[in-house]
């Protein structure tokens, strides 16, 4: 038992680093994922994650290799451009925001892969697409932890306006005047976390630890604070279980972590007490009032 569950982390530093990095992602991602779901932006987050690739790729080309700082700065810039760009396209043309995001992210993904292939090896390309949670250096780990801290503090301040803005945007704009600022601050935190997720899980799965635990948790409770806490817990557990499984079975670690969260999600779909499939079956008994 010890050999399976603890030894990999006791024996290998890269496993400990991977665990800490994934924990940071899971904890910061939980509240963001929950608000993405509530704001009906679950797919937008994923599209934006793909869209940061060309920025990271330019950072990669400039730095001449896989460099956390350069790729983060490039990714941040690209994330902001895409978030603002999608909004502008939606406002200035016939296309809605989801359609304009779809257009932007496909082009971004193709451009990013092309840019990396210009100079890099296939290994580098794989790293960019799927991340490498087992190769987190000091700098990257510090980055992930800082982003998680900023996110949690930011959301603590932003919580009430964000709830109001999601629940009833026109009332919020009239009663507080803080609607647009809230939306922007939320998007900024989102882009930060996409860049963080990109480092560990790659551009294709960077929202894995953000969305899957939040989706699963949403099926268990109607209380927002409880759902966010549960999502963080599921994320942390998935990160641990995924790393253990990938070590024991020699599976790629990033996808295994996301798969672990996927298992929880599917179980929740069936058994979730606040909206799982079994709960939706016709009930034999109902309350009197």
């Amino acid at each position: 038992m010890y050999d399976l569950l603890i030894a990999p982390f006791a024996d290998f530093e890269f496993m400990r680093r991977a665990l800490v990095g994934a924990f940071a992602l899971a904890i910061a991602g939980a509240p963001l994922g929950m608000f993405l779901i509530l704001r009906r932006m679950a797919l937008s987050g994923d599209a934006m994650a793909h869209a940061i690739l060309p920025g990271a790729a330019i950072g990669y080309l400039v730095a001449g290799g896989v460099s956390a700082t350069a790729m983060m700065l490039g990714g941040l810039a690209a994330g902001v451009v895409v978030a603002v760009g999608a909004g502008v396209v939606a406002r200035a043309t016939l296309l809605r925001e989801d359609a304009s995001l779809a257009g932007l992210y496909l082009v971004s993904l193709a451009l990013g892969v092309t840019l990396v292939s210009l100079r890099g090896s296939n290994i580098d390309l794989l790293h960019v697409l799927f991340g490498n949670v087992l190769a987190l250096d000091d700098q990257t780990l510090l980055l992930l932890a800082s982003i998680a801290t900023i996110t949690l503090l930011g959301l603590a301040v932003l919580f009430r306006p964000l709830v109001m803005e999601t629940l009833d945007p026109s009332f919020t704009q009239v009663a507080t005047g803080a609607g647009a600022v809230t939306q922007f601050a939320f998007l900024a935190l989102l882009v930060l976390n996409l860049v963080a997720g990109f480092q560990a899980l790659g551009t294709l799965m960077s929202v894995g630890l953000m969305m899957l635990p939040a989706l699963a948790a949403r099926l268990w409770t109607q209380k927002l604070d409880a759902a966010i806490g549960l999502a963080a817990l599921i994320g942390v557990a998935s990160a641990y279980a995924g790393l253990v499984a990938s070590y024991a079975l020699s599976l790629p670690s990033g996808p295994t972590i996301v798969l672990a969260a996927g298992v929880v999600y599917f179980l929740s779909l069936i058994f979730g007490r606040a909206g799982g499939a079994l709960r939706q079956l016709p009930k034999r008994r109902h309350l009197e009032a």
Binding site: V157, R160, V163, F171, T176
Partner: protein, 250 residues
């Protein structure tokens, strides 16, 4: 037209619209302080547009709205129930408490005094016992009662209601009309978008009849006369989607 103590809102040749297509044309007039006015008219007459402009959510294309220095955030606003995401996981108490946001601030604590005020508002609209209910589990009438409780907590001097009785049964409508009458007696200025002309004639002293421009504005019985209503219907049917630019003097 000037602004004085007896006037809450002044509209000076106001034109409102989206993408340059006006929804309300050249509207001029005033809402007296402490007045209770029903805003009526056919679908697409610009009623909700007018409310949105009055609360500052929509900038006029032309003309001027004078609120006498009143901050739009201090206005009570009841959006159409359809604009609220009822699947959001929040209970009735927390939802109503958001009406205190000007006192608690966006970040401040909700103290014992606030909780007391929230409980009072919930009981005033007849929703005691529903505090812990999820908002998605409420009926249409209960949702509207909840929105009135939130509005009550805003304690606003000027209150704007956008279709407060849409899809609400008779008894709930009666209770809510009583609440509006009480606010009116307290000297608040109230505007409500309404479709039920009998209700307006019975409970609202003033009425503004819109059909993309002002058809009639004055005592409810006169503004909603058969003649005025027929005129409003004609005007809304004559609307041209490919209208040329308006040449009327601004």
């Amino acid at each position: 037209m000037g602004h004085d103590m007896t006037t809450a809102l002044v509209l000076d040749d106001v034109t409102l619209g989206y993408d340059g297509h006006p929804a309300v044309h050249h509207l001029t007039g005033r809402f007296a302080a402490g007045s209770l006015t029903a805003v009526c008219g056919p679908n697409g007459a610009g009623k909700s547009t007018l409310i949105k402009a009055l609360v500052g959510a929509l900038k006029p294309i032309g003309g001027r709205i004078d609120r006498g220095g009143l901050d739009t955030r201090a206005m009570g606003y009841l959006p159409q129930a359809a604009e609220i995401d009822r699947s959001f996981p929040i209970d009735v108490f927390d939802f109503v408490a958001l009406g205190r946001v000007r006192r608690t601030g966006l970040f401040g604590r909700i103290g014992a005094q606030d909780r007391h005020a929230v409980a009072e508002a919930i009981s005033a609209v007849g929703l005691e016992g529903f505090e812990a209910r999820q908002i998605g589990a409420l009926s249409g009438g209960q949702t509207q009662r909840m929105l009135f409780a939130r509005l009550m907590l805003q304690d606003a001097g000027v209150i704007l209601l956008d279709e407060p009785f849409a899809a609400v049964d008779e008894r709930t409508t009666g209770d809510l009309v009583d609440l509006i009458a009480r606010w009116h007696a307290q000297g608040r200025t109230i505007l409500a978008v309404l479709h039920d002309y009998a209700l307006v004639r019975a409970h609202f002293p003033q009425a503004l009849l819109l059909a993309r421009e002002c058809v009639a504005w004055g005592p409810a019985r006169e503004a909603l006369s058969a003649e005025c209503l027929a005129k409003a219907r004609r005007m809304s049917e004559a609307f041209d989607h490919h209208a040329a630019a308006c040449e009327r003097a601004a």
